[in-house]
C-alpha cells in the first residue's frame, strides 16, 4: 500500500490532458475556477495519437464552435498547421468543412505552453488511481504516488487510457496509446463504485519513414492557396505549406492481407471491443467490399521536424511483418520502412446514457466526464465535450445555472443530445447529416450562434466579444447598403451576359441580384461603386449566404421555433415515472433511465411514443395544478 498524503485543495480537477481534458481545464480556469489538470505524462498533453489533422466534415464545425465559445483548439491548430483545405467548397455553405494538417509536436508544445500560462490552472503529472466518492458525491482523487487532491468537482477525460489493451497481430499488450502506460487501478476503483463500464475499440495505421518513399509513384496533394483559418480571432497567418501524397492499394496488397487474416486480432476473436463502422481496418474493408479493386491511401506528414508519415486508410491489427509485407506492394511504398506499427486499441468507457446534458454523471454528484470516455471518437468530438464539461463544472462551483446548447444552436448540442438521449453502440463520430438544422448550423456563423452566450457566462474574452460585435455590426450595415443600393441595367447586363443568364431592363437592387444562384459578390466588384474598400470577406460571405438561401433558412427557422417550444417545456426533476399509470411499461423504463430534462428531449428517446408524450404532458399539468391548490 502506498501511503497517501494531502496534496492540496482545488475547486476543479481534470483527469487527463488530451483534447477533452485541456479544453475542460482551460474553460474552468478561464472562468476563474482554481483548476488542477492531471496527466499520466506531461509530454502527452494534447497528443494526437492518430491522424495528423484537425477538422473535416462535421468535425470542422465543432472546432469553429469551440473557438466561438472561447476554447483553444482552433487557435492551437492555427499556430501549428502545415496545410489547410476547405472540404466541400463546391457544395453549399452549410457543408463547407475546414480541415488542417497539423505539426503534431508543435500542436502539443503550443497547447502545453498555453496551459502553463493560464491563470488559475495547475498542471501536474500523475496517474489517478482512485476517485474519492462519499454518499454519491465526488470529493477528490488519489494518484498512484499517494497524492490526495480534494475538490468540489472532478472531470474525467481518460480517453483511451482506461484499461487499455493494444493489439498488433498476436501481440497483445497492456498499454495505453503510443506506448504510454495505460490506467488500470482506476478501472477497479470505478467498478467498486458501480460504474457501468463497457469496451470500445479503435485503431491507427502505421507511420513510415519519409526517406524510404518513392514520390514519383504517388500523386502530390496540396491544400488551398487561399486558405481559411479556424479561429475567428485570426485574420491571416503566413504558411510554409507541406504536401500530402495519394496512392492506392492493389491486387497484390489484397492478396497478402487476405492470406494472412489469421494474424489479425480482429478475426481471431481476441478483440472484444466494438469498433466504429466509419473507420474500419483495411482487412475489414477487404472482406466487406470484395468487389472494390483498390483503396486509396493518403500519406500525410506528422510534422516539420520528423520523417514520420501517417498512412491514412491503412488502419490494421495485423502483425508487424504482415504490415510491412503488404505495404511494400503499394506504389511509392515499395521500399518503405515502418517507424511505428499500426495497432488496434481497446479501452473502457461508460454508457453516455448515464450522463445528463451538462455531462455530469447521474449517479455521482459533481463528477463530470468528457471525450472518448463518453463513447465518442475523434479529437474534435472530445474537445467539444471537454469545453462543455469544463464550463458546467465551473458553473457548478460558482453555483450558477448550467450551460446547455440545444440541437438548433450547435453541432455540440447535437453531439451531446445524441449521446445522452439516444446513446451509442459504437464510438460516435460527428457528421453533418446528424444535424436536422444543418443550414443554420454553418461553420461560418458559429460566432454568431455562440460567442454572445459564452461572453454571458464569463468565458469568451472582452477582446473576442468586441471583435464579434464589430463583425455583426458590419453585417448589418452591409445588409442595409445592398437592400437600398440599385445598380443600373447597362452596368449589370454585361455581367449577366457573360454568365449567360437573362438580362434585365430596369435597375436592380444588389440584394435581388445576389439572390440569383449564379451571381456572387466577386462578380460585382467592378460595378458596385459604393462598396466599402475594407469590406471583410467574412462579412460578404455572411450576407451572401443569408440573402441567397433565405427561403430555405426561413423554413428551418420555422422548424426550430417548434422544436424550441418543446425544449422549453421542462419536466420536473423529481418526477416518479412509475406513478404515471398510463405510460406504457417500456416508456416508463426508458424515461426513468434517461430522465430527460424537457418534453423535447423525452420525445427523442427511442421507445417513447407520441402518445406517451401526450400522457406525460397531461400528467405534468396535473401535478402543477395539484401543487397550486
Amino acid at each position: 500500500m502506498v501511503r497517501t498524503y494531502d496534496a492540496g485543495q482545488f475547486d476543479c480537477i481534470v483527469v487527463g490532458a488530451g483534447h477533452a481534458g485541456v479544453e475542460a481545464a482551460l474553460a474552468s480556469a478561464r472562468m476563474g475556477v482554481k483548476t488542477l489538470v492531471l496527466s499520466i505524462n506531461l509530454d502527452s498533453i494534447a497528443m494526437m495519437p492518430c491522424n495528423p489533422s484537425i477538422g473535416g466534415t462535421g468535425k470542422g464545425h465543432l472546432v469553429k464552435e469551440i473557438d466561438a465559445l472561447g476554447g483553444e483548439m482552433g487557435l492551437n491548430i492555427d499556430r501549428s498547421f502545415v496545410q489547410s483545405k476547405m472540404l466541400n467548397s463546391s457544395k453549399g455553405p452549410a457543408v463547407h468543412s475546414l480541415r488542417a494538417q497539423a505539426d503534431k509536436n508543435k500542436y502539443h508544445t503550443e497547447m502545453k505552453r498555453v496551459l502553463e500560462n493560464t491563470d488559475n490552472l495547475y498542471v501536474k503529472q500523475g496517474e489517478v488511481k482512485e476517485l474519492l466518492i462519499e454518499d454519491h458525491v465526488v470529493k477528490g482523487v488519489v494518484t498512484q504516488t499517494g497524492a490526495r487532491y480534494l475538490s468540489k468537482v472532478v472531470i474525467l477525460a481518460t480517453g483511451t487510457y482506461l484499461g487499455s489493451k493494444i493489439f498488433i497481430g498476436d501481440a497483445i499488450l497492456s498499454s495505453g496509446p503510443n506506448g504510454l502506460s495505460g490506467s488500470y487501478d482506476l478501472v477497479n476503483n470505478m467498478q467498486s463504485h458501480q460504474f457501468n463500464l463497457r469496451r470500445f475499440k479503435t485503431g491507427t495505421p502505421a507511420r513510415i519513414d519519409a526517406r524510404t518513399l518513392d514520390y514519383d509513384e504517388m500523386e502530390i496533394q496540396w491544400g488551398d492557396k487561399n486558405y481559411e483559418l479556424f479561429s475567428f480571432m485570426n485574420d491571416h497567418i503566413e504558411l510554409d505549406e507541406l504536401p500530402c501524397w495519394l496512392t492506392y492499394t492493389n491486387k497484390n496488397t489484397h492478396e497478402v492481407i487476405l492470406s494472412n487474416l489469421d494474424k489479425s486480432g480482429l478475426f481471431t476473436g481476441t478483440i472484444e471491443g466494438t469498433g466504429p463502422r466509419y473507420c474500419p481496418s483495411i482487412e475489414t474493408k477487404l472482406i466487406r467490399f470484395t468487389d472494390k479493386e483498390r483503396h486509396q491511401l493518403f500519406i500525410e506528414p506528422e510534422g516539420r521536424d520528423t520523417h514520420e508519415m501517417y498512412v491514412q486508410g491503412m488502419s490494421t491489427s495485423m502483425s508487424e511483418d504482415v504490415q510491412l509485407a503488404f505495404m511494400r506492394t503499394i506504389p511509392g511504398l515499395k521500399r518503405c520502412e515502418i517507424m511505428r506499427p499500426a495497432y488496434a486499441i481497446e479501452y473502457d468507457c461508460i454508457d453516455p446514457l448515464d450522463l445528463t446534458l451538462t455531462l455530469e454523471v447521474k449517479s455521482v454528484q459533481n463528477l463530470f466526464s468528457a471525450g472518448q470516455f463518453n463513447g465518442t471518437s475523434g479529437y474534435e468530438e472530445a474537445a467539444a465535450q471537454g469545453i462543455i464539461a469544463g464550463i458546467n463544472a465551473a458553473l457548478k462551483v460558482k453555483e450558477e445555472p448550467p450551460f446547455i446548447l440545444d440541437r438548433s444552436e450547435a453541432y455540440i448540442g447535437v453531439l451531446i443530445d445524441d449521446l445522452v438521449t439516444k446513446g451509442t453502440d459504437e464510438p460516435y463520430r460527428m457528421m453533418t447529416s446528424r444535424s436536422e438544422y444543418r443550414l443554420l448550423l454553418r461553420q461560418d456563423n458559429a460566432d454568431k450562434r455562440l460567442t454572445e452566450k459564452s461572453y454571458q457566462i464569463g468565458l469568451a474574452t472582452e477582446e473576442r466579444y468586441n471583435r464579434f460585435k464589430e463583425k455583426m455590426q458590419s453585417i448589418d450595415v452591409e445588409m442595409t447598403r445592398i437592400s437600398t443600393t440599385t445598380l443600373k441595367a447597362d452596368h449589370v447586363n454585361p455581367i449577366l451576359e457573360l454568365l449567360q443568364i437573362p438580362t434585365i431592363v430596369h435597375g436592380i437592387k444588389i440584394i435581388d441580384l445576389l439572390k440569383r444562384p449564379e451571381i456572387h459578390y466577386s462578380h460585382l466588384t467592378e460595378i458596385d461603386a459604393s462598396r466599402p474598400l475594407d469590406l471583410a470577406i467574412d462579412v460578404m460571405k455572411q450576407v451572401e449566404v443569408s440573402v441567397k438561401y433565405e427561403g430555405y433558412i426561413k423554413k428551418q427557422l420555422a422548424q426550430v421555433e417548434k422544436f424550441k417550444a418543446l425544449e422549453e417545456k421542462l419536466i420536473p426533476e423529481g418526477i416518479v415515472y412509475s406513478s404515471v399509470d398510463n405510460l406504457r411499461l417500456e416508456a416508463r423504463q426508458k424515461l426513468d433511465e434517461i430522465r430527460p430534462s424537457s418534453i423535447g428531449q423525452a420525445s427523442r428517446i427511442s421507445g417513447v411514443s407520441p402518445a406517451d408524450i401526450s400522457v406525460l404532458l397531461v400528467y405534468i399539468e396535473q401535478l402543477k395544478r395539484k401543487n397550486n391548490d
Binding site: C279, R438, S609, E621
Partner: protein, 454 residues
C-alpha cells in the same frame, strides 16, 4: 405535439346531413384562408360565413365556416370549424386538404387534452382524457401500420428505401468528400427522383378514387363453389364507380376489389371457400378465407336456389347467424328446390333477397340492402380507419410535393445540401405512414453501401 395545428372530423362519419371538420392551433386560420373561397374579406370571431372549399382550383364542397379567436375557444387556441355536406367523401376530402396544408390529424381526445393543458378544463375531466389516450397507447406503436394494407405498405417502404439510397449517395459525398467514391450528379439525382415522383403520383391518383388505400367496409362473400360469388362480384363492380386492380395472387389467393356503393366505400373479398379439405394448397386458401370471414364487417352469404341445402350450406348458415350479413338466394331463374321457408326462419333478423345474376336480376336490391344495413345503423363504420386513410393520402401528398421541390432545386443546380432538405422531408412524411425514423436508416445505408474510413 403542442406546437402544431390539429384537425379532425368531429361528427360521426356517414351519418347526418352535415359533417364538421375542426381545427385548433397556430396555423388554423392560415390553413382555412388557403382553402376557403368566400366573398367575405375578413372572418370575425365566431361569425359563420358561406363559401367553397377549393383544391387545385376545383370546388370540393359548399360549406359554412367559422373562425374562433384565441383565447375564447374550447382549446384556448385559434380554432376553425368547417361545416361540410354530410356523407363520407366530402368531409374526408376537406380533412385531407387541411392536412396537406399543414395540419396534423388529431389523436383521440387531443382537443380536450389541449383544453386541459391550456388551463381550460378541470382536473377531473383530465382523468378521462388520460384514459382515452392510454387506451390508444396500449394498443401499441404499430397502429399506423396495422391499418395499412400489405401491398401499400410494401410500396411505400420501397419508395422510402429508394429515397434513402439517393440521400445516402448525396450524403456520402458530403460527409466523405475525399473518399474514392464517384459523386452523384444532378442528372442522376433528377432521374432517381422522377421515378419516385411518378410512383407517388400514380398512388395518389389511385388513392383519390379510393382504389389503393385499403379502406372501407370489409365485406366477404361466402358460399359453396359455383353459387355465383364471382358473378356477384363482377356485377357489383360493373355497377359501381371504381374498377380496381386485383391483388397479385399466389395460389388460391383471395380476390379483393374496391367499390363505392351509394357513398359507402366497400372492400369486397371473394373467398375461396371455408370447407374442410385435405389438399394442402387448398388448405391455405381455406385458412385465408376463414381469416377474411372472421375479420369482415359484413358478410354476403350466397345460396343456390336450384339445389337443396347441403351440409356445407348448413355449416355456413350457423357461422353467419351471429354476424352482420346479407343473405342472397341466387339462380332463381332455375327451378327452385331450396327450402326458402327454412332459410327465412333461420335468418329472421336479416335481409334475405333473391337474385338471378345470370339474368342480371336483383343487383339493385343487393346494393340497396347493403345501404340499408349500413345506414340502418345495424352497425357503425370504423371511423378510425377512414380517417387514418385520409391522413395517409395527405402524407403521400406532402411527400410528393417535397420531391417536386427537390427536382426543382436540382434543376436550379442548388447545392446538394439544400436539395437534401426536401428529400429528407419526403422520407420523414413517408415514415409517418410506416412508422419509421430517418437517421438510423440513413447511416446504415451509408455504411453498408460505401467503403469508408481511415
Amino acid at each position: 405535439m403542442i406546437t402544431d395545428t390539429i384537425v379532425a372530423i368531429s361528427t360521426p362519419i356517414g351519418e347526418g346531413a352535415i359533417g364538421i371538420v375542426r381545427m385548433s392551433g397556430p396555423e388554423s386560420f392560415e390553413i382555412l384562408d388557403a382553402i376557403l373561397k368566400t366573398n367575405q374579406s375578413k372572418l370575425n370571431h365566431r361569425e359563420l360565413v358561406y363559401g367553397h372549399i377549393i383544391k387545385d382550383e376545383k370546388i370540393i364542397d359548399e360549406v359554412m365556416a367559422v373562425k374562433m379567436y384565441a383565447p375564447k375557444t374550447y382549446t384556448k387556441e385559434n380554432m376553425v370549424e368547417i361545416n361540410c355536406h354530410g356523407g363520407i367523401l366530402s368531409v374526408k376530402e376537406v380533412l385531407a386538404l387541411c392536412i396537406i396544408k399543414g395540419a396534423r390529424l388529431a389523436e383521440k381526445g387531443e382537443f380536450t387534452q389541449r383544453a386541459f393543458l391550456n388551463g381550460r378544463i378541470d382536473l377531473a375531466q383530465a382523468e378521462s382524457i388520460m384514459d382515452l389516450i392510454s387506451a390508444k397507447t396500449k394498443t401499441g406503436f404499430s397502429v399506423a401500420m396495422n391499418q395499412l394494407d400489405g401491398v401499400l405498405s410494401r410500396k411505400i417502404k420501397s419508395i422510402r428505401n429508394q429515397l434513402i439510397a439517393t440521400m445516402a449517395q448525396i450524403e456520402v459525398g458530403i460527409d466523405y468528400p475525399e473518399e474514392d467514391i464517384e459523386e452523384i450528379t444532378y442528372q442522376q439525382i433528377i432521374d432517381e427522383l422522377i421515378v419516385v415522383k411518378d410512383t407517388l403520383n400514380q398512388m395518389l391518383a389511385n388513392a383519390e378514387n379510393g382504389k389503393i388505400i385499403r379502406e372501407g367496409l370489409k365485406t366477404a362473400i361466402i358460399g359453396k363453389p359455383n353459387v355465383g360469388k364471382s358473378s356477384l362480384m363482377n356485377a357489383l363492380l360493373k355497377d359501381s364507380r371504381a374498377i380496381v386492380t386485383e391483388i397479385a395472387g399466389t395460389t388460391r389467393d383471395l380476390i379483393e376489389e374496391f367499390m363505392n356503393i351509394g357513398g359507402i366505400p366497400i372492400k369486397l373479398i371473394d373467398t375461396a371457400g371455408i370447407r374442410e379439405t385435405a389438399d394442402i394448397v387448398e388448405k391455405i386458401g381455406v385458412e385465408r378465407s376463414k381469416a377474411a370471414f372472421n375479420e369482415a364487417d359484413l358478410i354476403i352469404f350466397m345460396l343456390n336456389a336450384s339445389e337443396a341445402l347441403t351440409d356445407e350450406d348448413l355449416m355456413l348458415m350457423s357461422l353467419v347467424k351471429d354476424r352482420h350479413a346479407l343473405v342472397i338466394i341466387n339462380k332463381t331463374d332455375l327451378e327452385i328446390v331450396i327450402d326458402e321457408a327454412y332459410i327465412n326462419s333461420h335468418f329472421e333478423d336479416k335481409i334475405v333477397i333473391r337474385t338471378s345474376l345470370e339474368l342480371e336480376q336483383g343487383i339493385e336490391d343487393v346494393e340497396k340492402s347493403i345501404q340499408e344495413i349500413v345506414f340502418g345503423k345495424q352497425f357503425e363504420i370504423n371511423n378510425d380507419e377512414i380517417v387514418s386513410n385520409s391522413r395517409h393520402i395527405a402524407l403521400l401528398n406532402l411527400a410528393y410535393k417535397n420531391i417536386v421541390d427537390a427536382i426543382h432545386a436540382s434543376n436550379d443546380r442548388m447545392p446538394y445540401d439544400f436539395i437534401e432538405v426536401d428529400i429528407k422531408d419526403s422520407i420523414t412524411h413517408l415514415g409517418h405512414i410506416t412508422g419509421e425514423a430517418v437517421e438510423k436508416d440513413l447511416l446504415n445505408s451509408i455504411f453498408s453501401n460505401f467503403c469508408l474510413g481511415k
